[in-house]
């Protein structure tokens, strides 16, 4: 930047003001949620409000963690998200390999369909899913959630995986093929190990999508022992209407897995987020 030291100073001050205002917009609501989860239920809407007050305690967290019903939500969410992640990663590796390394007749059309699936509204699929899942005999089961979640995780995963394989030189797999390895061997022995960063990106992003899903979990499960965390929060809101601190504690605990993954794999997350829209 060009300018006198004075101008630069002024610019810096303005920049910092903007930065801090932005941080308040993004961060204060979250800070308030976390601080409220440590208050007693009576103090949450106290007047005047305070960020931390005398009622500070871990009671709400202990209540959530001591309730087997609510722990079950976490167990279900982890189980479903992990299964969705594994299935999506394997399926998308196979599909990405096909799109990246082969030319075939319906390649363009199939590619368009897979991109297009992203725009199918979940609410449109919900009505037939209900009938289909009941007909398959998997209503109110983990299988119902894993299968339906994959419809929405797969298309990103395939787009990302194809893009990643495209960045790897073809000479690599050709060398193995000449040595007598089949295409399947090439994929698992050569491409998969060196694509690990791409696979982690797909996995992390898939886990997050599955962890957050709401509509299918709401309609395709019935009993509380099959509910996931987002639905658990919804139930808590209805049941004993205003156990605010417990709802907030459950929310904070329910956000931790994604937050931790996010902090650990920031770069991958960002790659995942932009894979659907931005290429290059």
């Amino acid at each position: 930047m060009i300018g006198t030291p004075r101008q630069i100073l002024i610019r810096k001050i303005l920049l910092w003001i903007a930065l801090i205002l932005g941080a308040c917009f993004a961060g204060l609501p979250v800070l308030w949620m976390v601080s409220s989860s440590f208050k007693s239920n009576l103090e949450i809407f106290a007047y005047p409000p305070a960020l931390v007050d005398y009622s500070f305690s871990f009671d709400a967290y202990l209540a959530v963690l001591g309730d087997p019903g609510q722990l079950r939500f976490f167990f279900n969410s982890y189980l479903v998200a992990i299964m969705v992640t594994i299935c999506t990663v394997v399926t998308s590796i196979l599909a990405g390999y096909s799109f990246s390394r082969y030319d075939f007749r319906f390649k363009k059309v199939l590619n368009l369909i897979i991109i297009g699936v992203q725009s199918v509204p979940p609410i449109t699929l919900m009505i037939p899913y209900f009938g289909l899942i009941v007909w398959l005999g998997i209503y109110n089961s983990y299988a119902a959630l894993v299968l339906t979640y994959m419809v929405f995780t797969l298309s990103y995963a395939i787009i990302m995986m194809t893009g990643y394989f495209n960045t790897l030189p073809r000479d690599l797999d050709e060398a193995v093929m000449i040595d007598g390895g089949g295409s399947f061997v090439t994929l698992w022995r050569i491409l998969v190990p060196i694509s690990l960063p791409g696979i982690v990106a797909v996995g992390v992003y898939t886990f997050m999508l599955a962890w957050n899903e709401f509509l299918f979990a709401l309609t395709l499960t019935r009993t509380n022992d099959m509910r996931t965390v987002p639905i658990g929060i919804h139930l808590l809101m209805g049941q004993h209407s205003f156990e605010w601190n417990q709802m907030l504690a459950l929310s904070v605990l329910g956000s931790l897995p994604v937050l931790v993954l996010f902090l650990l794999f920031q770069r991958y997350f960002i790659a995942g987020m932009s894979a659907g829209s931005v290429k290059g």
Binding site: F45, A95, S119, P122, T124, L132, S274, S277, V278, K279
Partner: protein
């Protein structure tokens, strides 16, 4: 799975088999994907379409009756549907525009050369924070803040911005704007990270030659930054528009479409038609209309994707 076969070069029938196998191989790798998409996308969409053409489906004891486009006529002329449609469009358009403005502003701030790497890293995490939370948690969070006795009312009242406590989510005049605001808060980080990546991709010499030509900051932004980001902006906006039309959880858990349908969007309207009123034909018809709108937008999205590819 393996193509290694000792006698392959001798018999011609074997070569033909090999060739056919090679041709089928890519489909083999795609088969799990195709199977899943056929079973859980293509067939269900066909089913919804059929449901939308008949009456008495699923729960009704009477046999289904083909009614052609009557359901569509009924839906499209219904005042509730039109209200939901206009709410959906308002919610989506305002969200997309605001996401774009906030996402780009934050990206430009974080891209400033006056900041050190560490400062950028910290603020980047804070700015992306809303994106870590799932819609049902965002709903709880804002119900806490926007509660009539909540902290937002307190601050605005103390500052003299509002004359009295507002019922943000249960006042007919405020609720739609309140849920739109919540969606804006929840959704801008997606733009932010995409723009950050996009800004880093703009070569420095473009700006330098712009400066040599005497351009000021605004002109540089207008004639270099914006045109360079154009492909990203277009695909982001289209994708975001589609996602916002899909939005169900946030509205379901903040207002449930109320009060008095003032925040009813197409997805909550469909859900109620199906699971509260059990009018599956009508619900299917609305679902088809949403699909049509999203497909229309998606056509532009796929086109913009192709442009960036080539």
């Amino acid at each position: 799975m393996t193509t290694a076969n000792p006698s392959e070069s001798i018999q011609s029938s074997n070569i033909g088999w090999e060739q056919r196998k090679r041709k089928l191989l890519p489909y083999g790798y795609l088969s799990p994907t195709l199977l899943l998409l056929a079973a859980l996308t293509v067939i269900p969409i066909g089913t919804v379409f059929l449901y939308s053409l008949v009456d008495n489906v699923i729960v009704n004891p009477n046999p289904p009756q083909f009614v052609g486009l009557e359901n569509y006529e009924e839906v499209l002329t219904n005042r509730k549907f039109r209200g939901a449609l206009s709410n959906t469009l308002y919610f989506s358009l305002v969200s997309v525009v605001a996401h774009f403005i906030i996402g780009l502003s934050f990206a430009l701030l974080l891209n400033s050369r006056l900041l050190s790497g560490n400062v950028k890293a910290i603020f980047r995490v804070i700015y992306i924070l809303p994106w870590v939370f799932t819609a049902s948690i965002i709903a709880i969070l804002w119900r806490l803040l926007l509660n009539p006795h909540g902290v937002v009312n307190f601050v605005l009242l103390e500052l003299g911005i509002i004359p009295e406590l507002n019922e943000w989510l249960s006042d007919r005049k405020l609720a739609l704007n309140a849920v739109t605001f919540i969606n804006i808060w929840a959704g801008y980080p997606f733009y932010l990270v995409s723009f950050l990546a996009g800004l880093q991709g703009i070569p420095d010499d473009l700006y330098e030659s712009g400066r040599v030509d005497g351009g000021n900051a605004w002109q540089l932004f207008r004639h270099i930054t914006l045109p360079q980001l154009r492909p990203i902006i277009i695909s982001l906006a289209l994708l975001d528009f589609i996602w916002t039309i899909h939005q169900f959880t946030l509205i379901w858990m903040t207002t449930g479409g109320g009060p008095l349908r003032s925040t009813e969007v197409l997805s909550t309207y469909t859900y109620k038609a199906a699971f509260s009123s059990h009018e599956y034909s009508i619900a299917s018809t609305i679902a088809m209309v949403i699909l049509a709108i999203c497909t229309f937008v998606a056509i532009f999205y796929v086109r913009s994707q192709r442009m960036t590819d080539e």
